[in-house]
């Protein structure tokens, strides 16, 4: 699908921050507010804009800490049961936060979140590994989140070091 410059500009702003009002977006792009609203609605309907998630660092909040694991899953697809069908059996679980079909040494990359390691281990052994076409699983626990979706979470964030006034 080809988008217009105006649509691409709107996406660029939303991609950086979705906390801005349509009015602010309209002003930035020198457009009418109604037109911005219409284009956003259109792109939502076309599922180009899928949703507006907020990046939250849960581990900063006491009692809300989560453990995240990425699991490499090997699958043997059968006649009439392709990757898509196996994937659906996996992504239906609410614990699964993302799922990708991969090229390379394994087939599906599953990300799951849990409160404890035990919770994740149980999910893998009781639910994931028991799915009929799943051949093997390798679980990797995430230890630290440095960068997520282009945002540096922990580390040397570029701060403003400029003088308050300069010519």
């Amino acid at each position: 699908m080809k988008l217009t410059n105006e649509e691409l500009n709107i996406l660029a702003i939303l991609d950086e921050s979705h906390g801005l009002s349509t009015e602010s977006i309209a002003m930035q792009l020198d457009m009418k507010k109604d037109d911005v609203q219409k284009l956003i609605k259109k792109m939502e309907d076309e599922n180009i804009i899928v949703s507006y998630p907020t990046l939250i660092d849960w581990n900063k909040i006491e009692g809300k800490e989560t453990i995240v694991a990425m699991i490499d899953v090997k699958v043997t697809p059968q006649r009439n049961v392709g990757f898509d069908e196996v994937a659906e059996q996996i992504y239906r679980y609410p614990e699964v936060t993302s799922l990708y079909l991969m090229s390379g040494t394994y087939d599906l990359s599953v990300t799951i979140e849990g409160k404890t390691m035990k919770e994740i281990a149980l999910f893998v052994s009781n639910k994931l590994a028991t799915i009929e076409y799943v051949v093997s699983t390798t679980t990797h626990f995430k230890l630290k989140k440095y960068k997520h979706d282009g945002v540096i979470i922990e580390g040397n964030n570029d701060k403003d070091r400029r003088m308050v006034i300069s010519p």
Partner: protein
């Protein structure tokens, strides 16, 4: 022994006007929670690929001098950049110098062309250094005050009126700091006509050339008959977000360049080796990032101009750089009063327009090189500030009745 240093300092140094920004800086720097629209540099940090290459250069031991004019490899990248972007042809061997910031390019240009008493036309409001650089080189700055109703653009008539038999050169800056004004091809051609008629040189400060939003940028040297007369100055600071690297460059006819190289070798020797290597990477592999930053500035410009006009500070839409220059005349305050009261009451820093020449009185410079969220907050604060002024004005009127 108490020494009276006034007796030791040179007359030139003593007579230099202190920068109008200085005292304001001290005040703003001492306060907390200030939103600054007073910054004359990008809020972006130099793209990582450029930084990485410079780090590697330092690691690999590129710590010696380079040729006075700069690394030939960098000068070759500069000439191909100038050709690609601005359609001007220079030879890397003898027509380009890499300098310590575009500021030094300006200094070299004036030292190379001015005899004592030679006049240089400086179009104001202008960057704070211009007039002083001319003076330091022994020349005489002749100021031309542009007007808001002309979009802060100089007219050929104004130039004609300012030209004498001592006029040597005209200093142009488009897009302009502090007004953001960008001259189009026709306007530049008008200037070129006057330049030719009076046999002048042009020092063209094109440091904001990457940040022209509404039309394709025209380099003065690309105009017919102007190549021979132009000292083109550009650099990495603004477009590539590399202010602290202090890297600029000059391109000019080889006779002028060789005079400047002589001065340069005695005063500075060369720009830092490892940073020149970073600059090569900037010219080779950063156009996407430069474009992205430009798009960001463009959005902020639109936002800022509309916001200012909406809250009652009129301003024209500047075609480039990252400044707007709204009028504050209706508040009845001077530029300095406005800036200082705004800072104290609402903690928003702007630069009083008179810092850029007398013709800047009645205006303030707002830089939009800051995040949209900060801009939004700054606009809210300025609006509140304007309301308090209005209330005071009304109270005065009531009393007078």
């Amino acid at each position: 022994m108490n020494m009276n240093y006034q007796n030791y300092l040179s007359k030139t140094a003593n007579d230099l006007e202190p920068s109008g920004i200085r005292k304001f800086f001290d005040l703003a720097a001492s306060m907390e929670g200030v939103i600054s629209l007073g910054v004359g540099e990008p809020d972006f940090i130099t793209p990582w690929n450029i930084r990485e290459v410079a780090i590697e250069a330092l690691q690999d031991g590129y710590t010696s001098y380079t040729a006075n004019a700069g690394l030939l490899e960098l000068r070759e990248e500069i000439t191909s950049y100038l050709k690609r972007k601005f359609h001007v042809n220079y030879r890397a061997e003898d027509q380009v110098i890499v300098t310590v910031g575009a500021s030094q390019s300006l200094d070299l240009a004036f030292r190379a062309i001015l005899n004592p008493g030679d006049e240089v036309l400086v179009i104001e409001p202008a960057f704070v250094s211009y007039a002083s650089l001319v003076t330091l080189a022994g020349g005489v700055p002749v100021r031309i005050a542009t007007k808001e109703e002309n979009g802060f653009k100089v007219t050929p008539e104004q130039m004609e009126a300012a030209i004498t038999d001592k006029t040597k050169a005209i200093l142009l800056c488009s897009p302009n700091n502090p007004t953001g004004t960008c001259l189009n091809k026709e306007e530049l051609n008008e200037i070129a006509r006057v330049v030719k008629e009076h046999d002048l040189l042009v020092v063209s400060d094109e440091i904001y050339a990457e940040l022209a939003y509404d039309q394709e940028y025209t380099s003065f040297a690309s105009l017919p008959g102007m190549y021979e007369r132009t000292i083109l100055i550009n650099g990495f600071s603004k477009g590539f977000a590399m202010t602290g690297w202090r890297l600029g460059f000059l391109a000019a006819p080889s006779e002028i360049i060789s005079a400047m190289v002589k001065i340069y070798q005695y005063t500075t020797m060369c720009a830092p080796y490892m940073l020149q290597i970073g600059a090569i990477e900037a010219l080779r592999n950063s156009s996407d990032q430069v474009e992205k930053m430009k798009l960001n500035y463009w959005r902020r410009r639109n936002f800022t101009v509309q916001s200012l006009n909406r809250i009652g500070l009129e301003c024209h839409t500047p075609g480039g750089a990252f400044y707007v220059f709204p009028s504050i005349k209706k508040t009845g305050l001077t530029s300095e009063q406005f800036a200082s009261e705004l800072l104290q009451q609402e903690k928003v820093a702007v630069v009083p327009g008179n810092a850029f020449g007398e013709s800047g009185e009645g205006y303030i410079r707002c830089s939009y090189a800051t995040s949209i969220e900060q801009l939004q907050e700054a606009m809210n604060r300025i609006e509140r500030f304007l309301k308090t002024i209005e209330t005071k004005q009304n109270q005065k009127l009531e009393k007078a009745k």
